[in-house]
């Protein structure tokens, strides 16, 4: 290292001559960081030599007898789904592992003896690290693990469990979404039919299905904001899915411009995933809608503030509809995305999609022809909407509303539940 550093300095003349001034100085910083790294390594070594924590070793041995639970998250956008489960696990003093491929995952900030969290690095090596995950259980809300073109299933995981992160069934997942999972914690019994139908169709083994609720919805409920629309004009929230099933992709911005001409305020909320993976599209829409004063954009992760002030939601297949309808008990207009526009999704293999029919329960489902008269439907829906009926609907669809995380941890805790 010393030789290397000397060399660096000796040859710096040649070096700097070419290097742009910005990175020129970076070199010096890097030499410093090299020394820091060496210092850190030495310290680590000395401390390891001096200190042998026998207690810790004993505890670790004890923990070995427990079921080892691993949780995998794709990142902070799913934090709402995991947060309650993590809190519950820590509360129950269960040691578990948490893996994330997002450096900004809030779970990584937690310093606690029960959570062993780890960031799985960047790029290709994250894939390798993911595959090296060991344990009895891998709990994740990410679908498609093991399917072609996605993350492969870790070889040393005995049981892979999926739980849902939205009020929807598997029709909105891409094909082979749950083919390689052993168990599914369903949001409610309504999801069962579609899963079984696909299992039968593909001839794959039957998964264990347990209705345990939706931690994501509970988390939203916790963050429910009681503010109201003080504006005399109606506020309409437009929420879009991402990818081909998104309403913007299918219907464009025409109807929004038309709506904006009336006495309404519009909040447009793209799917958080769109902000990540469809930057160019979002930029395009922003440019199109830039000059309309009564349209504003909501790019926050937490949808609660927008949802609380909106009087009505217009959305597509997005599960935001149910979040809105179930938590705030307000009406929703669904814009239908025809099946032909959604190739590659599980929907292709399912005969009847329950959650589509539920769309009619929480408001209207409009196709492209009906969309022309959308103002008419907005007026109509406000008159016909019934809050009590909505609450009943919610309880029939979602299990353990408000306490799903506790139910999930109860299920995870006992070995008998896996046989």
């Amino acid at each position: 290292m010393l030789v290397f550093t000397l060399l660096l300095f000796l040859l710096s003349g040649v070096l700097y001559a070419y290097l742009d001034p910005g990175t020129g100085t970076a070199l010096i910083n890097i030499v410093i960081s090299g020394f820091v790294a060496i210092g850190y390594g030495m310290k680590e070594l000395i401390i390891r030599l001096i200190r042998k924590n026998k207690k810790e070793l004993k505890e670790k041995k004890k923990r070995k007898n427990q079921i080892s639970i691993s949780i995998f998250s794709e990142g902070k956008q799913y934090w709402n789904s995991y947060r309650a489960i993590i809190d519950e696990l820590i509360k129950s003093k269960i040691v578990f592992y948490y893996y994330s491929i997002d450096i900004e995952d809030p779970a990584l900030l937690i310093e606690n003896e029960f959570i062993n969290s780890k960031f799985l690095r960047y790029g290709i090596s994250s894939r390798a690290k993911f595959m090296a995950i060991k344990g009895d259980i891998l709990l994740t809300t990410t679908p498609n693990i093991g399917a072609e073109g996605y993350l492969p299933r870790p070889k040393n995981i005995k049981r892979m469990i999926h739980f849902f992160h939205s009020v929807s069934d598997i029709s909105i997942y891409k094909k082979h979404s749950l083919d390689f999972y052993d168990e599914v914690y369903m949001a409610g019994d309504f999801q069962k039919k579609a899963i079984r139908e696909i299992e039968e169709k593909r001839g794959i083994k039957t998964k264990k299905l347990t209705p345990l609720g939706l931690p994501y919805l509970d988390e939203l409920l916790k963050g429910k904001v009681s503010s109201r629309n003080e504006n005399p004009n109606k506020t309409i929230l437009i929420g879009s899915s991402w990818g081909k099933k998104g309403l913007l992709n299918y219907y464009g911005t025409g109807f929004i411009k038309k709506l904006a001409k009336g006495d309404v305020n519009i909040i447009f909320r793209p799917h958080p995933q769109s902000l990540k993976s469809e930057k160019s599209l979002i930029e395009k829409y922003k440019r199109e809608l830039k000059n309309i004063p009564n349209i504003c954009w909501d790019e926050a992760i937490d949808p609660n503030p927008s949802m609380s002030i909106a009087d009505l939601l217009i959305s597509d297949t997005s599960s935001l509809r149910y979040d809105y309808a179930f938590i705030y008990c307000k009406p929703v207009i669904t814009l239908k995305i025809p099946l032909s526009a959604m190739p590659g999704y599980e929907r292709d293999d399912i005969s009847s999609i329950l959650i589509d029919e539920a769309g009619r329960e929480i408001g209207y489902v409009l196709n492209s022809e009906e969309l022309i008269d959308i103002e008419k439907y907005i007026l109509k829906i406000n008159n016909e909407f019934d809050v009590v009926r909505m609450k009943n609907l919610r309880d029939s669809i979602v299990s353990n509303y408000g306490c799903s995380a506790a139910a999930i941890v109860q299920q995870l805790k006992f070995k008998e539940n896996y046989e």
């Binding site: 070419y18 401390i47 900004e104 090296a132 073109g149």
Partner: protein
């Protein structure tokens, strides 16, 4: 440093040459070169941009947490918490270095450009755009008068541009900007006196960088990613490719493919020499293999995710790439080493090939439950044949026609015997695959182990280590039962190859057989004014007068011969070596060469010797009339020291049973490559004599002619002397007289001022067992037996006998000849001190000046 940079220098040099031939203008091509390289650097840099970006991103997350910890705790606990934090984020402070990756990627090119442009001879005197000489500072602003000054403009221009671009970079903080300005000024001082070619190159580079900075600045707020859809599909396709390659079968086929590529490289080097691989197109091929392997291993790492398997993959990679790289760096410097490296590489390539073959047939080499006995036998065959093929390839002179088949058959039959033996011992308890594995290992080791061990142990005839390794291997293979153990052995084996190939660089060259004499330490600084040509005629097995008496052979003929031509025949002379090579190696290196390895001795005899260097430095031209047994394969450095070899050292294929047997014997004595073609070659004694005549007729140059004549020779190593053998030897002695007469006549007639040295290299070995007295007791070895072995003839024809008598008083050893000769030529007795010690050690005794000093050795 230049060695490491060589490929980059090559790339830039070739590029520059190409540009020059296209534009035919030094300056324009220089600017074009600068533009091309800076674009290349720019793209390289942006390609590796993600590494510093990641570092920035992770620092943004970690720093607040570290600050928090620093505030809350101190000491060991603090360290513990920070350590945990790093673990959580899979981070280590050393990773901060990755921020420098884009810079380090560029470094070799920068250094290479600097190296070329600062030393480029062709720039001398070339003017361009008002600059008078590209190889010197431009000095564009010159004034001479009362006040004289000259200022170079290019450094000023460069510095101005550098300072400007420091202000142009978007998002740069004040501190970095100031640092950049300081660096720019520092550079101004440092490069002020550099060649203007270099400055043009860098100024253009800096202009391009400044333009880039302007572009970035203009587009800084518009950076929108429009390519998302594409990257999506790339990612998708990438996964598809990975899934395809992850299939064991595909990986097996890939291994075979790479093994074949490597074999191709080895053989193309073998056929055409190392220089070919340095040609740009082949260099790219070499790079292609390396990069392909890197990619393959990366994929294997991804697929086999555990750290242990990652290590295995890395080792596999190293095993294949390392010898190639070492070979590449060593080039022609150490001929011996590259041969062995090639052997390692070859071995590895075969291992790859076979494992590839197995895994392409089965799901995985590790999961092979069993194979049928046919496959088992074919595996054993292939493993035993692989070294055989290599050896056959290395020694084509020894094999031809049916002997190829016999040669391979011997190995195959041996492999079969080993297989049956192991099978018999295993008694049905082992799976076929294990039997095959053990048998292959044995068959393989038996042929390649002698070669490897001979390389490290020199010409040690003790074979205990060899047997021990075989035994250890046997027990090891018997013990392998689980997959895990198999992996351990595999990793161990592969690591061994790595260590062996690296060791080839670091072993001191004394044990490495060759090239000791090449180093300048061994140079003798001797100069003399004499202009006599020197003829060193070695009559193999010629003896001194005392030995004639011991053997009861009349001396009149030889005495009259010497008197006739004015030779002085020295008495009781002997050599410190008992074989031709040891003796002559000692003569030409003026030392006791008994401990030198045979290939080192051959190198000396071929011309890489002290004596040769002395003659060369005094304007002599060396001619070596030596058969190939005495010279071995001549490396390029040695070749440069000699004017001409006869017979010329071009190979010829001769099919002879003798050669075949020599090859087999050589293999088991641990020699990898043999070059004894000249022994039997079609260079008849008449042709050799004619060659000598031709040389003596060459006028106007000082010659140092070395000729080793195969007459009379020594007896045939048969172990006992019979009458017939003696009779035949006597005939050969007469033949040697005839040749002597011819030689002396010819030289004295055509080159009367020449110094003729007629010597024997060892005795005729006509007593005792006729050879090395191997089974003789020490007490039974007499002085006479020793005279018969090392009592050599030394007879010299001095043009000035009086002058010679000043120096030749103590000429006793063959190895004394050149110290005496140098003294004679320079008329200065100081070189007599070069004479080596006269103690001969060998045949279990110590011998000095006719006495057995001590018969215990």
């Amino acid at each position: 440093m230049n060695k490491i940079l060589y490929p980059f220098i090559l790339i830039i040099e070739n590029l520059y040459n190409f540009l020059y031939t296209s534009t035919n203008n030094f300056g324009t091509s220089l600017i074009l070169l600068s533009i091309i390289t800076s674009i290349l650097m720019f793209s390289l840099k942006s390609f590796f941009k993600k590494f510093p970006e990641r570092e920035i991103q992770i620092q943004a997350v970690l720093q607040p947490q570290i600050d928090k910890i620093n505030k809350e705790t101190t000491g060991v606990e603090k360290h513990q918490r920070i350590s945990n934090l790093y673990k959580r984020y899979s981070y280590h402070p050393i990773l901060a270095l990755r921020a420098a990756i884009p810079i380090f990627i560029q470094l070799p090119f920068l250094f290479a450009a600097y190296y070329i442009l600062n030393n480029y001879e062709a720039f001398k005197g070339i003017s361009f755009l008002g600059i008078k000489d590209l190889s010197r500072p431009d000095l564009l602003l010159s004034h001479s008068g009362i006040i004289s000054f000259s200022i170079s403009l290019l450094p000023v221009l460069m510095t101005t541009i550098n300072i400007c671009s420091a202000f142009l970079i978007p998002k740069i903080n004040k501190k970095s900007r100031n640092q950049s300005i300081v660096i720019a000024l520092f550079l101004f001082v440092l490069l002020y006196k550099s060649s203007s070619a270099l400055l043009i190159y860098w100024t253009v580079n800096n202009i391009i960088f400044a333009l880039g900075a302007i572009y970035l600045r203009l587009n800084y707020n518009k950076s929108i990613n429009y390519n998302y859809q594409n990257t999506l599909s790339i990612k998708y396709n990438y996964n598809k490719v990975i899934n395809f390659i992850s299939k064991k079968k595909v990986r097996g086929l890939l291994r075979i493919y790479f093994a074949l590529l490597v074999l191709y490289v080895i053989f193309s080097i073998e056929l055409t020499g190392m220089s070919l691989i340095l040609m740009p197109s082949n260099l790219y091929f070499f790079l292609f293999i390396t990069i392909s392997f890197l990619i393959l291993s990366a994929i294997t790492v991804i697929e086999n995710h555990t750290s242990k398997q990652t290590i295995t993959t890395l080792i596999y990679l190293l095993v294949l790439i390392l010898p190639l790289i070492i070979m590449f760096c060593l080039k022609n410097y150490y001929y011996d080493r590259t041969i062995y490296l090639k052997y390692y590489l070859y071995v590895t390539a075969w291992v790859y090939f076979f494992t590839g073959l197995i895994s392409s047939k089965h799901k995985s080499i590790n999961s092979v439950k069993n194979i049928n006995y046919k496959s088992a036998i074919s595996v054993v065959f292939m493993f035993s044949l692989s070294p055989a093929i290599y050896l056959a390839r290395m020694n084509p002179d020894y094999l031809s026609g049916v002997f190829y088949l016999i040669f391979f058959a011997i190995f195959a039959i041996f492999a079969l015997i080993v297989y049956s033996f192991v099978r018999y011992i295993a008694n049905g308890q082992f799976l076929n695959i294990r039997v095959a594995m053990i048998a292959s290992l044995f068959a393989f080791l038996l042929t390649s182990l002698p070669i490897i061990r001979a390389y490290y142990a020199g010409n040690n005839t003790n074979f205990i280590d060899f047997s021990l390794i075989l035994l250890a291997t046997f027990f090891l293979t018997i013990k392998i039962k689980t997959k895990k153990q198999f992996n351990v052995v595999r990793i161990f084996g592969l690591s061994l190859i790595i260590v062996l190939s690296i060791s080839l660089i670091f072993i001191p060259s004394e044990t490495l057989n060759k090239s000791i004499e090449v180093s300048s330490n061994n140079k003798l600084e001797i100069s003399f004014s004499g202009s006599n040509s020197i003829y060193l005629l070695v009559y193999d097995g010629s003896m001194n007068e005392r030995t004639y008496d011991i053997l009861n052979i009349e001396t009149n003929t030889i005495k009259s011969l010497f008197t006739k031509f004015g030779f002085k025949w020295y008495k009781d002379t002997y050599s410190l070596g008992s074989t031709s090579l040891e003796s002559m190696g000692g003569v030409l290196s003026i030392s006791n060469a008994n401990l030198f390895s045979s290939s080192h001795l051959r190198d000396i005899y071929a011309g890489n010797s002290k004596v040769n260097r002395v003659f060369n430095s005094n304007g002599y031209k060396t001619y070596k009339i030596l058969n190939n047994y005495l010279t071995g394969s001549i490396n390029d450095n040695t070749r440069k020291l000699v004017e001409e070899y006869y017979p010329s050292k071009e190979k010829k294929i001769i099919s002879e049973l003798d050669f075949f047997i020599v090859l087999l014997r050589g293999i088991f004595q641990g020699e990898l490559k043999f070059d004894t073609e000249g022994i039997v070659g079609d260079h008849t004694i008449e042709r050799i004599q004619a060659k000598k005549r031709e040389l003596t007729l060459k006028d106007g140059e000082k010659k140092f002619v070395v000729n080793h004549i195969n007459f009379p020779g020594h007896t045939g190593n048969s172990g006992s002397i019979n009458e017939r053998e003696k009779r035949r030897w006597m005939e050969r002695l007469k033949m040697s007289y005839k040749l002597m007469q011819e030689d002396f006549e010819n030289i004295t007639k055509n080159d009367p001022q020449a110094i003729i040295i007629a010597i024997g290299d060892h005795g005729p070995q006509l007593t005792g067992d006729g050879t090395g007295l191997k089974n003789w007791n020490r007490e039974d070895i007499t002085t006479d037996l020793i005279w018969d072995r090392i009592g050599t003839m030394i007879a010299i024809r001095w043009p000035d006998k009086e002058k010679a008598s000043k120096f030749d008083q103590n000429l006793v050893l063959n190895q004394d000849i050149f110290p005496v000769l140098f003294s004679y030529l320079s008329d200065d007795d100081q070189y007599l001190s070069l004479k080596p010690d006269r103690t001969f050690k060998g045949f279990k005794i110590i011998f000095k000046e006719g006495h057995l000093i001590n018969n215990i050795l």
